[in-house]
Structures are given as C-alpha cells and as structure tokens.
C-alpha cells in the first residue's frame, strides 16, 4: 500500500515534470534528423514559463466553457497519470478506474477542449472541434476492442492485473494477440495525441490542422496549460503502451525503495525510446489527407478485431 501510494505520487510528478522534456527530446530528434541544430530539450519548459508570465486573455463572447476547458484537460491528464501503471502496478487508484475509464477520461479532456474551441465561435475553432470529434469517434472502437483482446488472458480490464500478468510472464507478449493489439493501440495513440500522419503538431496551416485549430484563441497561462496537458497526454499514452507490452522493471506491490527507483528509470528510458522512435518516424512521413485518416483507423480496428479473434481461436 505504501509503495503503491509513493509510486502513484512519483508517476504523477514524473509525468508532470517530464512530459515537456519528452516533447523537447522529440523536437530535438526531429531537428537533428532534418539537419537543424534544434532548440534543446528544455525549450518546451522555457516556453511554458514564458506563457505563464503573460497576462490571461478572455476573448469577447467567450464564457465559462472556454475558461474551464484547459483546466479540465489538464485535470483529466493528471488523473490518468495517477491511474495508469507507469512506475507501480499497485496504485491505490487502480480499483477506481480501469482501462475503459482511462480512455474515457482522456476523451473527456478532448471534449472539453472541443467545447472551448466551439465557444469562441470562430470558423477555425469549429473546424478543429469538428475534426477532433470525428477522429475521436473513429478511434473509440479500436481502443475498446484492443482492451477486450488484452483483457481476455487476465479475465479483467483492470490495468494493474493486465500489467502484472505480463510482468510475471514477459514472454507471453510474443503472441499474435499482443502483436496485433500493440499495432492497433500504437496507431490509436498516434491519432489521439495528434501526431503525424493523423495531425501535424507543428503546422499552422488552417487546412491541415486539428488540435492547433482548437487552441488558436488561447493565450498566456491558458495556452500554457493546454500545451502542458497535451504533453502529459502524450507521455501517459506512450507510457501505457510501454507498460502494457513491455512492463520490464515496473514495481509490484512489494517493491522497496530500490525497486521504485529502478521502475522510475525504466519507465523514463522506455518512454524516451518510444518518443525518439515516434519522432524519427515522423521525419519520414507526410501527413495523411483528413479523409484518408478514417481508412487508417478502420485498418487499426480490423487489427484489434483480429487480436480478439486470435485470442479465441489460437488459444
């Protein structure tokens, strides 16, 4: 229990502090691969500090929905960070929310942001919100069916039990079920976090953007919150992928101080590796046309469906 609580607090702190650094690492990798010097991995934190010092702005015609959206986005990301097993599988919140609840919580964050965008009444806000909701609706089946595939072996959708079972028997990951589910979830993670090929986080061209179109009217501390929360969502989802399919080093219920420290190092290394991989992949890819994205997501849904079928017919 004590280990679990300490672990949960540790992983929230880790995500809160480390996620902007992850974004920094990814941007740096991209810059180097593209032949630029890059701004250094601490640049996202410097940006956040700059934004926090600026005056908050309420555009004319916006109201409580616009104000509440960044808070809710960051809040959902923090709760997800506390629940998902990153450092420890024995988080005291594990029984509170399972994998379904975590994905629904992250969706709640997206919804808050979309409503904030609609509240501005600008064409860009509406465009971003509409596209974000389309992608969200299409992503949902893949997530839930992949969860189904992963939960069959354990007989539960609890994140703690899935990860514990995999950690106890790491070779069980080398199966068609896990491979298919992993690919499906990876595609979904890319879509949820708005990375290439679904969305381009560094674009400011109105015809291509989804996430950036929603946050155009935000400035100062509000924008800082959104940037921070987006980074946290990215880290949580990458960490979740790492824990589900490669839980090496994660602290169990009876881990000591050393175990927790090792778990922290392990998750940092794993998430950083995934981030570098994602950033490197983005260099070689172009963004898909918006109306090609559903095909990608339908493909990922098919993989998830195959994963469930494999779990039954190959078992």
């Amino acid at each position: 229990m004590v280990t679990g609580t300490v672990g949960a607090v540790l992983q929230v702190l880790l995500i809160a502090v480390g996620s902007p650094l992850l974004v920094g690492v990814m941007r740096q990798v991209r810059a180097r691969l593209e032949g630029r010097a890059g701004a250094g991995i601490a640049q996202p934190w410097r940006d956040l500090r700059k934004l926090l010092r600026k005056q908050a702005i309420s555009p004319h015609g916006t109201g409580w929905v616009f104000r509440l959206a960044p808070l809710l986005l960051a809040g959902t990301a923090l709760v997800a960070a506390a629940v998902v097993p990153l450092v420890t599988t024995a988080s005291p919140l594990d029984g509170v929310a399972d994998l379904f609840a975590v994905t629904a919580l992250l969706a709640l964050g997206s919804v808050a942001l979309a409503l904030g965008a609609l509240d501005t009444g600008t064409a860009f806000g509406g465009m971003g919100a509409s596209r974000e909701m389309t992608v969200l609706a299409l992503v949902e089946p893949t997530i839930l069916v992949s969860v189904f595939a992963l939960s069959i072996r354990v007989g539960s959708t609890s994140l703690g039990s899935i990860v514990t079972a995999t950690a106890r028997d790491p070779l069980s990951v080398i199966s068609p079920v896990s491979a298919l589910a992993a690919v499906a979830l990876a595609i979904v993670t890319i879509a949820e976090t708005g990375r290439i090929p679904v969305d381009n986080p560094s674009t400011h061209l109105e015809l291509t953007m989804i996430h950036e179109a929603m946050v155009l009217e935000y400035a100062g501390p509000d924008l800082a919150l959104i940037e921070w929360a987006s980074a946290m969502r990215l880290s949580v989802l990458l960490g979740l992928l790492a824990s589900l399919f490669f839980p090496l080093g994660i602290a169990g219920a009876d881990a000591g101080v050393l175990g927790l420290a090792a778990a922290v190092i392990a998750i940092v290394v794993k998430v950083a590796l995934l981030g570098v991989l994602l950033a490197a992949g983005e260099v070689f890819m172009a963004k898909l046309r918006l109306f090609r994205v559903p095909e990608l997501l339908a493909g990922s849904f098919l993989l998830a469906l195959l994963a469930v079928a494999a779990s039954f017919f190959l078992a």
Partner: protein, 689 residues
Amino acid sequence: MNLVGTLYVTALAGCAVAALAALTAPARARLPLTGWCTAVAGAVGAAAGVAALSGGVSAGVSAGVSPGGPAGGSGPSWSAWLPDLLPLAGVRLAIDPLGGVFVAVTGLVTVCAAIYGIGYCAHGLDGRLFQAVLPLFVAALLLVPAAASVSTFLLTWELMAVTSLLLVLAEHRRRAEVGRAGLWYAVMTHLGLVAILAGLVAFAAGAAGESFAELRAAELPPGAATVVFLATAAGFASKAGIVPLHVWLPRAHPEAPSHVSALMSAAMVNLGAYGIIRVGLDLLGGGPAWWWLLVLAAGALSALYGILQAAVTSDLKRLLGYSTTENLGLVLVGVGAAGFFAVSDLPVPAALALAAALLHVVNHAAFKTVLFLSAGSVLHATGTRDLDALGGLRTRLPYTTAVFAVGALCASALPPGNAFVSEWLLLQSLIHALPGAGVAGAVTMPLAVGVIALSAGLAVATFVKAFGVGFLARPRSAEAEAARESPPPMLAAMTFAAVGCVVLALAPTLVVPALGRAVGVVFPGRDVVSGELTLRLAGVSGMISPLLIAAALVIAVVAVLGLVRLTAARRARRAARLWDCGAGPMSARMEYTATSFAEPLQRVFDDVLAPESDVDVTPMKESAYLVERVRFQARVPDRIEHRLYDPLIAAAAAVGNRARALATGSVHRYLGYGFWALTGALLVLVALW
C-alpha cells in the same frame, strides 16, 4: 393490501383525480391543479416501484383469489385480480421487481414532466382535453408493467398508444408536420399492437389460460414458441424504436410538446424493452440462442444507425429522438446478450448483461428527460429547434445551458456521467463471456464491443455538436438573440431531473443492487454487484468507482487551478477581440453550424447515410453565362424509410387506386359483391368443415 399495493393504487387514483381536475377545474386553476396532481401521482407511483424493488418478499392479494399464487421469494410484491372490472377476462395486476423498475422510472419521469408542463403549457396547450389525456397516459404507462394477463396487458398497451397519439397531435393546428407524424405513429403503433396481439393470443391458446402465471407454466412446442417470440419481439421493437421499425420515432418525438416527448422517450419506449424481457426471458423462459443473437443484432444495428442519424441531423429534438433509438438499441444489446449467455450456460455474465440493460434504461430515462425538457425550454425561448439557427444561449439561458450540459455529458457516456457506468457494465458482461460463449460468442462479442464503442464515440460527437453549436458561441438568428429564460416551474423540473442524473452518475452503487433484484425475477439467485463506494462485480473480476473518479477529477482540477494561480502572472484577465488568425471582426454567419460540424462524419459515413445534395443555378435572362442565383440544398434523408417504407406505401397506394375501379357507385354492383362474398364464405366453410 401491502405497501406496494397501497402506493400503486394511490398513484392510479391520483392520475384519475388529475384527469377529472383537468376536465372540471376553471381555466385559471387548471394547469397548476392538474400538474401538481399528476406530479404527486408520479411520485407515489415511483415510491410504489421502489418499494416493489426493495421489498419483494411479502405478497398481498387484494381482491378475489390469485390462482397462480405467489410462490416463494421470486413472486410478485403485490398482485390483484379484479374479475368484475372487465367482461370475460377480468383485470389482473401484479408488480414484481422487474415491473417495479419500469413503474419507478415512469413515476420519476412523470414528476419532472408534470411540473414542467405547468410552465410549458401556459401558451396554447392548456385546453381541457390535452390536460386530461396527459394523466391518463401516465396511468397507462404505470399499468403496462403491472399487467399480469394477456387481456390486461393488451388493453393497457392500447390505452398507452391511444393516449400518447392524442398527446402527439396536440399542436396539429400550428404545424402540418404534426399531423403527418401522428399518422406515422398511429399506423406503426397499431401494426405493432397487431403483432403483439397475434403473438400473445397464440401464446395464450397454447397455454392453460391467459394469466402470466399460466403462460409461464406452459410448455409450447418450439415452432409455436418461435412464432410467439418473433411476433411479440417485432411489436415491442417497434415501440422501442428499433431499426428498421423506428420510422415513427424521429417524427413523433420532435412534433410532440416537449414534456410529452420526455415522457415518450424516457418512459414509453422503455416498455418495448420491458415487453421483450417479460415475454422472451420470463414467460417463454429463454429459447434457442438465435433468438437472442437476433435481438442483439437488431440492438446493435439500431445503436449505430440511430446515433449516426443523430450525428448528422440539425434539428435538436429529432437528434434527441434518434439518440433514443441508439440508447434503446444498447439496451437490447444487453437484453440479447443476457438471453444468449443464459442459453450458453453462462449465468454470471447473463445476470450482469441484464442488469446493465436495466441500468441503461434507468440512466437513459434520466438524461433523456433532462435533454428533452431543456430542448423544450430552448423551443419555448426561441421558437426554433434548428441548431443552425441557435447559438449564444449560454448568456441568455444560463440555467437551461447548465442543465443541458449535464444531460449532454451523461448522454455521451463520458466518466462523470451516468451512461458511462451502464455502458461500462455492459462491456464488462460482454468481455467476461468470451472463453465460455463458444464460436458464436467469439464472433459476436468483439463486434458488439466495437459497435458499442463506435456508438459511444459518435454520441460524444453528437452531443458536443448539440451543446457546442446550440448553446455556445454567438447567436445565429434574431430569435436566438432575443431568447429569455423559461418560467420557474420549467426550470425546477429540469433541475430535479438533472439532480437525478448526477445521483445516478455518482452513486450507481445505490441503484444497481436493487436492479439485481429485478434481474432475479428472470435469473434467480444471483447478486450482480457489491460495494458501497466502488462498483464491484460479483462472480467475475472488475470494479470501478464513479464517485472516486469524479472526486479525483475535482481534486486534479482544483490542484491545477491552484498551480496556475501560484505560478502565473498575477494580473487580471483582459478582455480582447477574438484573434481568429488576424481576420475579423467575425460575424455570426462565419461560425461553424451544426451542418458544417457534422460534415466530416457525413463524408466518412457517406455510403451508409447516402446524403442528397441539389445545386440549382438560375441564369440571368440576358445570358446563360451570367448567374442570377445559385441555390444549394443538402439533406440527409432516413435511408431505411426511403428504401423500405416508401416503396411499400407506394404499392399500397397503387393497390388502392386500382381498387377504385371496383367502386363505381352502382348499388347493384355492391349487392352483387355482397352476394358473392357470402357465397364464397359459405363455400369455404362447407369445404373446410
């Protein structure tokens, strides 16, 4: 008479008093008197339902003898036989926990709708007839789940259909569409009645009598049981708005007055699901697996089709109507899964799936009441249901906006909402069935999970559209600009319904164990869940705590707020012009509308929805190259209606037109028809007997 009986009879009496008051009271006192009487009757009815759910052991018999006899703990909480009330059959009533759920839901929805009606009906709907029919409709809704014999059931069912039809037609003088919607509704509901009547009469013919106790004891041959099930299921599905029998629903719900829409959508359609559970699972006692896979497939199809249509429509109440189709589809997914698991010998997931279905009935009733009542408030304030013409209601109707936000959050199945809990329970039941459900289960369950997920995702998009476009941003029309908040009775009723949603969302642990007793009527001897703060599944592993999730969320948001206050610059917020990429100032016409919001989804599901668009270019007189006007029209028709019903109606009309030639107006000819018909009948009788 025991507690349940006393409360239930009081509720029915309350409805009668309300109807009498509507007929006799002077015009000024009519609305409050009828409204409050109906509300009190609803509250008492709800209490009766809750008492039936929580007690369940003591069995009282009021008048006459009860031949089936309540046997043991699973018998009805209250039953009555009134042999003299109806010729030949008599009236037989019984409330068991399963019926109790639906009585309680109806009662609570009635409380909200009746109080709301006091404010809503003040302009034009305060006539004697309308006010008197509403309590009768409520009484019929309370009677259907308590009917315990075929004749009583059919009679109350028809009473419900006729009274609701009169209520739907209330505003037929104002809009021509009301009449058309009423016609669709009348035809569909009566075709449904014919199907149910045929099925139940065939059932009673095969059993020793027509009381439900005798039907339960009957052993039908499999072929007859299948006919009974398919006929009744079709009738009940049409009442529940299940695809492809849903066509009346998205017409009748928008055209009815809003509190009637709430009653229909939150209480009446539930009884379709009740009928399938009662006849299929309880009276017929299961059946082959394919029955239930059929129910599951119909439910899944409705869930997807309903929410897809809701996602692309821009009429607020039509959107809510299609969302009803979606949610009842989800309920039927649960019912179908429960029947299928029961046949496959998986008692734990079966009980879980049925509990999930019942919980979704309760949750859907709660949030649909909120949504229809607040949509009515919007209609009351602006006179339009078109989302493309709304917007900016956040500052003009702050209460309605907040209440609608609660309802939309609940309807989109996101965490602090109540639908999330029931969909979670449904998903858990599907997931825990897998190793045991065989190949049929291994193929259907993942698809069912995918369908539930996609419908949940589309529901999110739908309700973001309804709330974001309808209530936020700036008004898109003069009507929305001039909107004023609704009168206090309407706001009070909406708030009450919203509080119900919140309670259901945060404390499902209070409701689900009671629903477990209702499940026990069909699958005896099972606890479904346990736990006070955390919903813990019994028999399989799985838990969740909506209350703690909400608490964690609040703590996280407050922590983030504190962090920002601590670190950010301490300067007051500055109001500024919208940036909008340097363009502007914006006009309201530049906003995204509901149609444009749904455009990507419409394009993605192009093959399913088959939208129609029409470009009409009018050139100038002088030259074909100079354009005077371009008219663009786009609409998404209901494809099933288009493909399935239009040809049928056209064929019926063609037959009718042809038959005109038979009726020339000549009396001799008509006498000839009579003669030949009589001779033919006699010949048939001679040949067959």
